[in-house]
């Protein structure tokens, strides 16, 4: 399926899903839970653009998410712009942070890069903790409006926005994967030295990856203050986001756009079920156990398992991909 067709089909699927869920589900809690799952799909997909496609492990998801969330808080206090605008501003701000982080750290490789992203999260958390305007360490209350500006309850509105962002994120990830950019990302992941020798501008491509990844994470964070009502540094910079955004693509499979989607739906849903049936305290335990299990049984994730199955078929069905070429003016 071509890129334009995928955007159109996935849009129709998202609209159909929205109408179906809104028509069939009466209990508000399900929208509350679904928002979390969708948020994890966006975070996992965004993480995978850098971590899966280019092979650079980012432990700073919480920082990008928080930059988006606190951008919304700043706008909430200073202006009365609608939430979609806050998401855009959160995305731009977080994208700029991603670009800056990339510029400073992308000459590092492997574990050194991972540690640098962790350090970024700590630096960002320290800044927020000491910034009184956004509540500092005590946090800040963000009063959620009573009614949705469009229809239904506000949580349904948040759910609809997150569903739209999920559609955009997944479509962007899939577009990248099938493009010249995606092929360049994969070359970097496979062998950066060989990629440079083949003419791939590795630093430029990695900066593009950190910017897009950071921007999507920031957009996912922007509605969070309205979702949670009380925002504090611990809730945005928590380990949950960093661990989940890494574990979900790893369990689903990092080489394809569908991996983070599958991983996030599986892990996100399991965590929501565990939250209501046992306790939210077991969420990270579930992630840890599944991660250990998958590392042993299916190191390439669920998508990897399917690919292994397909590999048993004749080679002409394996590894076939279609890279859409663009004019030189529009490509990096």
């Amino acid at each position: 399926m071509g890129t334009a067709k995928f955007w159109a089909v996935s849009f129709i699927v998202a609209i159909a899903f929205l109408l179906l869920t809104r028509g069939l589900i009466g209990n508000e809690y399900y929208f509350f839970a679904a928002y979390q799952v969708l948020q994890f799909i966006v975070l996992a997909t965004a993480w995978n653009i850098l971590g899966g496609y280019t092979g650079y492990t980012n432990f700073g998801t919480g920082a990008f998410f928080a930059v988006g969330a606190y951008s919304a808080v700043v706008l909430h206090k200073l202006t009365s712009v609608p939430l979609p605008v806050m998401m855009l501003v959160g995305g731009v701000t977080s994208g700029i942070v991603g670009f800056g982080m990339g510029y400073l750290t992308l000459r590092l490789k492997g574990v050194f890069f991972a540690i640098a992203t962790l350090a970024l999260a700590i630096v960002a958390q320290t800044l927020i903790v000491n910034w009184d305007f956004v509540g500092g360490s005590r946090g800040i209350y963000v009063i959620r409006p009573q009614n949705s500006p469009i229809y239904g309850s506000y949580i349904q509105y948040l759910y609809s926005l997150m569903l739209a962002l999920t559609w955009v994120s997944v479509a962007i990830a899939r577009t990248i994967e099938r493009s010249k950019l995606g092929l360049g990302f994969n070359a970097i992941r496979d062998d950066e030295l060989a990629a440079e020798a083949a003419g791939v501008p590795t630093l430029k491509l990695k900066l593009i990856a950190t910017t897009i990844s950071g921007a999507l994470m920031g957009m996912a964070g922007a509605p969070f203050p309205y979702y949670i009502g009380y925002l504090q540094p611990a809730s945005t910079f928590g380990l949950d986001y960093a661990v989940n955004s890494i574990a979900m693509p790893l369990i689903g499979g990092t080489t394809s756009w569908i991996g983070p989607l599958v991983g996030a739906i599986l892990l996100g849903s399991l965590q929501q079920i565990a939250t209501v049936t046992i306790s939210s305290a077991v969420n990270l335990l579930i992630v840890g156990l599944l991660l250990v299990g998958f590392v042993i049984v299916a190191p390439n994730g669920i998508v990897g398992l399917v690919q292994t199955y397909l590999r048993r078929k004749p080679p002409e069905f394996v590894g076939r991909r279609h890279v859409e070429t663009q004019s030189p003016e529009t490509v990096p």
């Binding site: 010249k180 092929l183 496979d190 440079e196 020798a197 490509v331």
Partner: protein, 243 residues
């Protein structure tokens, strides 16, 4: 004849170790140059300095009339400088056609030449046919034998449509007939106008391929000339051949 590649007083140190010591070399277009030397003599360091993987502290490298100093490796590739690696470095998650597609998209594309999807497919098929891997276009690199891996490495370098190709030990570990295969490829490439620098330990291959031979020992150039003259050089015999 003006030089395609001009290296002037190039030096490279790793801490206290002098890997390259004031190397000067001028290579005209169309040359078939053999670069030999014992292990640790600085051959790969020289290649890395030419290609931009390493940056030299002293001296300069000029390619096709343009100074390369400080230029990133991918920009040097865009200018027409290609290399194959001592140990094959395929893109392991991509099939052979996609391995070839990368330089076509990123190097040929960067020269302002727009290649349509059809043209790229055709070029991939042609390059793989030239190295005898057309039937394996959809295979993954893990399915290849050692010689096929070397051929893929050369095909990927050729896809960048280089003016100068540096083949860094492209025949290491191959049988006699496989060495012949690679030599035929390199000669054909040279016939098409590509300047080739062959770095090799297999002396029969170097002697049959090269029109000019350069010898490096301990980071210094000790000989430069016609292969038969260089091999008779007493310093080369003493330092390199151990006679």
């Amino acid at each position: 004849m003006s030089a395609l590649l001009a290296i002037d007083n190039l030096s490279k140190r790793f801490g206290g170790f002098v890997a390259l010591d004031k190397i000067s070399l001028s290579i005209p277009a169309g040359e078939r140059l053999g670069l030999i030397g014992p292990n640790g003599s600085g051959k790969s360091t020289l290649v890395n300095c030419i290609c931009g993987t390493l940056h030299n502290e002293q001296g300069s490298v000029e390619f096709d009339g343009r100074k390369l100093d400080g230029l990133d490796a991918h920009r040097r590739t865009h200018l027409g400088l290609a290399r194959s690696f001592q140990l094959p470095r395929p893109f392991v998650s991509m099939n052979l056609a996609d391995n070839i597609r990368i330089p076509l998209l990123y190097t040929v594309g960067a020269r302002g030449i727009h290649l349509s999807q059809h043209l790229i497919e055709e070029r991939c098929a042609t390059l793989l046919r030239e190295v005898g891997l057309e039937a394996k276009a959809r295979h993954m690199p893990r399915d290849l034998t050692q010689v096929e891996m070397r051929k893929l490495e050369l095909a990927r370098a050729m896809a960048a449509e280089p003016k100068l190709l540096i083949a860094d030990e492209a025949m290491a570990g191959l049988t006699h007939s496989e060495v012949e295969d690679i030599l035929t490829l390199l000669v054909r490439l040279n016939d098409q106008g590509v300047t080739v620098i062959l770095i090799e330990h297999i002396m029969s291959a170097v002697m049959s391929f090269s029109r000019r031979l350069v010898v490096l020992v301990s980071g210094k150039k000790i000989a430069d000339g016609k292969p038969e003259d260089v091999m008779r050089d007493p310093e080369v015999e003493r330092a390199y051949l151990g006679q």
